[in-house]
Subunit: 481 residues, 2 copies
Amino acid sequence: MEKTFHMTSQQFRDAGKQLIDWLADYYEQVERYPVLAQVTPGEIRTSLPSEPPASGTDTQRIIQELDSKILPGITHWQSPNFFAYFPANASEPSVLGDLVSSGLGVQGMLWATSPSCTEVEMQVLDWLAKMLALPEAFLSSGSGGGVIQDSASSSSLCAILAARERATGFRSNEDGCREELIAYTSTQAHSSIEKDVKVAGIGRRNLRLIDVDADFAMRPELLEKSIEEDERARKLPFFVCATVGTTSSLAFDPLEAIGRICKKHKLWLHVDAAMAGTAALCPEFRQIQRGLELADSYCFDAHKWMFTNFDCSCFFVADRATLTRTLDVLPEYLRNQAAASDVVFEYRNWHVPLGRRFRALKLWFVIRHYGVEGLQFHVRRHVELAQTFLRWVREDSRFELMAPAPLNLICFRLKGADQMNEELLRRLNRSGKLYLSHTRLNGKFTIRFCVAQTRTELQHVQQAWDAIRKEAESLLAVAHP
Amino acid sequence: MEKTFHMTSQQFRDAGKQLIDWLADYYEQVERYPVLAQVTPGEIRTSLPSEPPASGTDTQRIIQELDSKILPGITHWQSPNFFAYFPANASEPSVLGDLVSSGLGVQGMLWATSPSCTEVEMQVLDWLAKMLALPEAFLSSGSGGGVIQDSASSSSLCAILAARERATGFRSNEDGCREELIAYTSTQAHSSIEKDVKVAGIGRRNLRLIDVDADFAMRPELLEKSIEEDERARKLPFFVCATVGTTSSLAFDPLEAIGRICKKHKLWLHVDAAMAGTAALCPEFRQIQRGLELADSYCFDAHKWMFTNFDCSCFFVADRATLTRTLDVLPEYLRNQAAASDVVFEYRNWHVPLGRRFRALKLWFVIRHYGVEGLQFHVRRHVELAQTFLRWVREDSRFELMAPAPLNLICFRLKGADQMNEELLRRLNRSGKLYLSHTRLNGKFTIRFCVAQTRTELQHVQQAWDAIRKEAESLLAVAHP
C-alpha cells in the first residue's frame, strides 16, 4: 500500500485515548508543578530544533516531547493554586465539547455551512441571557441577540464600531472617521478599550478616562460634565463603556446613573462584565448589573469564570440590525438562499472574522453537564472562599485592604513600602506554590488574589494565605528586626 | 461526600475515550452523511429546549443528543466530497494537538503567562517561513516574525492598521483618522479587505478596487495610475493588498510589479495567500509568491489547506516594530519583568485580542507528524487530482472553463444560461453526494470545484464528475429535448 503519511484510524484511537489519560493525569497531578513556569526567556525555544523536520515522527515521540519540552514552559492556569489576573477556568465537559468541535472542523461563516453551528449558538446564548436574567432586548426573540467572540477586546471593538456607525448615520463606514467622535470610560477600564478606540480610527486622545470614586467606580457626574463639554466644543460624544468588575480591583460602575446619561445624550452604552458577569447566575449577586436594561450591548467571558475553555466571550446587543449593518459585506461567493431568511442569524456579520468554529458546542456541553444549579454552586463557593480569605486579611493588622471586595477578588498589600510588596509577590510566585498578580491602586503596589479556578477548594486558599503570611513575616523581620 | 457537580477523573477518561472513538467512527463513516446539511432554517434550534436546563445531565445523554440533534445540522467540511468554498481541512494530529491546548487551557497573553505558548509559536512560525521559503525578513531572527491570528480577515486588519500608522507617523492612533488614507486591492480581492477598511475607520469609499486582466489578476499599470491620481488629489495612498490565489477563481496578482510600485510610492504591501500559500511548501509551485520580498506583510491560513483545524491564520511581518507599536497598550496589571526582554515576543501586541490560546500546539503536532515531505505529498496529490478534473472538463464540450486553473481550484460552467447552472448546483448540493459553491466570473454564474480535503482521493473526484455529468445531462435533455 502506498504511504499516505496520514494517521490511521487505529493510531488516532490509540493516541487520542492516551492523550485523554494524559490530561486526566495532568489534572490529578497539576499541583505538583510550579504554578508559574520557572524558565528563562528563550529556554523553551532553544530546546526545539531550529530547522523544520523533513520527515514525520511517531506520535509517541511527540507526546514525549510534550512532556519534556513543552510542559516545563507552561504556567498552569488550571492549577487550583492559580489566583493571578482573571481566571480562564476550563472543565472536563468543556474540553470534551471543544474536542468534538475541533474534530468536526466545521466553518459557521454562513448558516448553510453548518446550520447547527449557528442555531446552537443562538439557542445557548438565549439560555445564557435567561440564566443571567439579562434584559429581554438581548434575546434573539426580541430585537437583539448574542454571539460568541474570541475575547472581550473583540466584543468591545464591535460595540464601538456599531456605536460609531449609529452616531454618524453609517457615514464612517463609507467615508472614514471624519467627525470628532468621543468615547468615554473610567480610568479603571480595561486597556482593550483604548486599543479598540485606536483600531476603530477614533484615536486615543478622543477617549476620555473619567475619574472614579473611593471605590474605583466611575463618577457619573464627571461623565456627564465631560460629555457636555465635548458637546459644547462641537465634538460628537458617541460611546460609553461601563465596567461591571474592573480588571484592577473588581469595581462596579453605577450602570443606572450612567445609563440615564447615555439615554439623555444619545450615546451607546456598552457594559463590560468580562469576569464578574458570571456572578449573575446567582440571584443574590445580580445587583451588579442593575441598570443593564439601559445598555446597548453587554459582554461577559464564559472562558473566564464559567468553566468553558478559551475562547468564549459572550457578546449581546439590544439592536442587532445596527451591528449587522455595520459589519455586513456580501460578495457573490457568499450569497445563498438561507441568508435571506429571517429565522436564522448570519453570524459573519456579528464580528470581524469571516471564519468561525463551532464554539457553542463547548458551552452547550458545560451547561448541559452542570445545569444552572451546578454552575451556581461553584460561583457561590468561589465567592465564599474569597470572602474567607478577605476575613483573614482583615484580621491581620500587618496587611491592608485596598478596595471593596464583594465577590471573588481581594486587593491587599503589606502595610509598608511598595518595594517590600513587590518582593513579597516575587518570592511567592517564584516559590511555584501559587501564582498571584498585582495592580496599582491609589498609587500603591497592590497584590490581587482572585478565586475562580475550577478546582480551588478551601485547602488551597488556606495554603495560599499560609505562604503569604510566612513570606511576609520573613520580609518584615528584615525590615524591622 | 458532598456533591460537587464536577465530572470525575474516571468519568472524563471514559467519556473522553468514547468521544475519541466517536470521532474516529465519524471520519470512517463521514461519506454516509449528506455533505450539505439537509435541514431547514430553525429546525435544529426548535429541537433544543427553549429554557436552560435547571439540573445537569449525564454525559451519555449529551453524546446521544450530539448524534440525534446536532449532527443532522452539520455540513461536513471534513468529508472527502467537500469541494465548496475553500477547504478547512483538519487532520488527526491537529485535533490531538488542539485537545491538549483545550485541556491545558493556558492564556498566552504575556510570555510569562505561559512561555511555551509564545516560544513554540515563534519557533513553529519560523519553521513555516523556512518551509515556504518566505523572505528572510519574515523570520524572527530578522526584523520581523510570525504570529497566529484567528483568520485572514484579522491578519489583513492588522496589516492595514500597521500601514495606517506608518503612513501617518502614528498620528491616527493618537488623533483618529484625519487624513484621506487610500487603500488599494483588486476587484477580485476577498471581501474582508473592504470590511477591514471600514473597521479601521478609513471608509470603503477610500478603498480602490483595481481592475483585473483576462486571468483575473490585478493590472499593475492601473494600480499605479490610481495611486498617482490620488497623490495628485492630495490624498494619502498607504496600503495595497495583493492576492495570491483569489477566493473567486484563484487568480494570482503579479507581486513583483505591484511590489515595485509600492516601494516607489511608499505604500505598505500586504499579500493575502489565504489558501494558495500552502502550495509553496512544494518548490515547483513557489512561483506564485515571486516578488514576496517586496511585501511588508504576508498571510496564509494553515487552517485552510495545511491539515490544521481552525483557527490558525499565519501572519508574517517584515518589520515587527511597526506592528507592535501600533497595537501596544501596557496597563499596570500587565507589567512584568520578561516583557522588557528582547529575546521573546509579547504577542498581545501582534493582534486585537488580549487573550490567546495555545494554537501553535496543533501546528506543532501537524508539522511533527507529517514532516515537510508528508505535507508536500498531500499538496501535490490535491493539485494532481484537480488537474485530472480539469482535463475531464476540458474534454467535455458541453462545459466551459472560466479561469486559469494552475493549482487546486477549477472554475467551470455548463455552456448555456446562468439559470441552468444555478439549477445544476442546487441539484448537486441537494443530492448530498458532494458540496460545491459558486462565484460569478465575467458576469456569468460559475461553479467552483476546490480539491483540498484531507481524505479526498481519485474516487471522490471521479464520483463528483460523474454526478455533475449526470445532472448536466438531465438538465440539457430538458433544455434541448
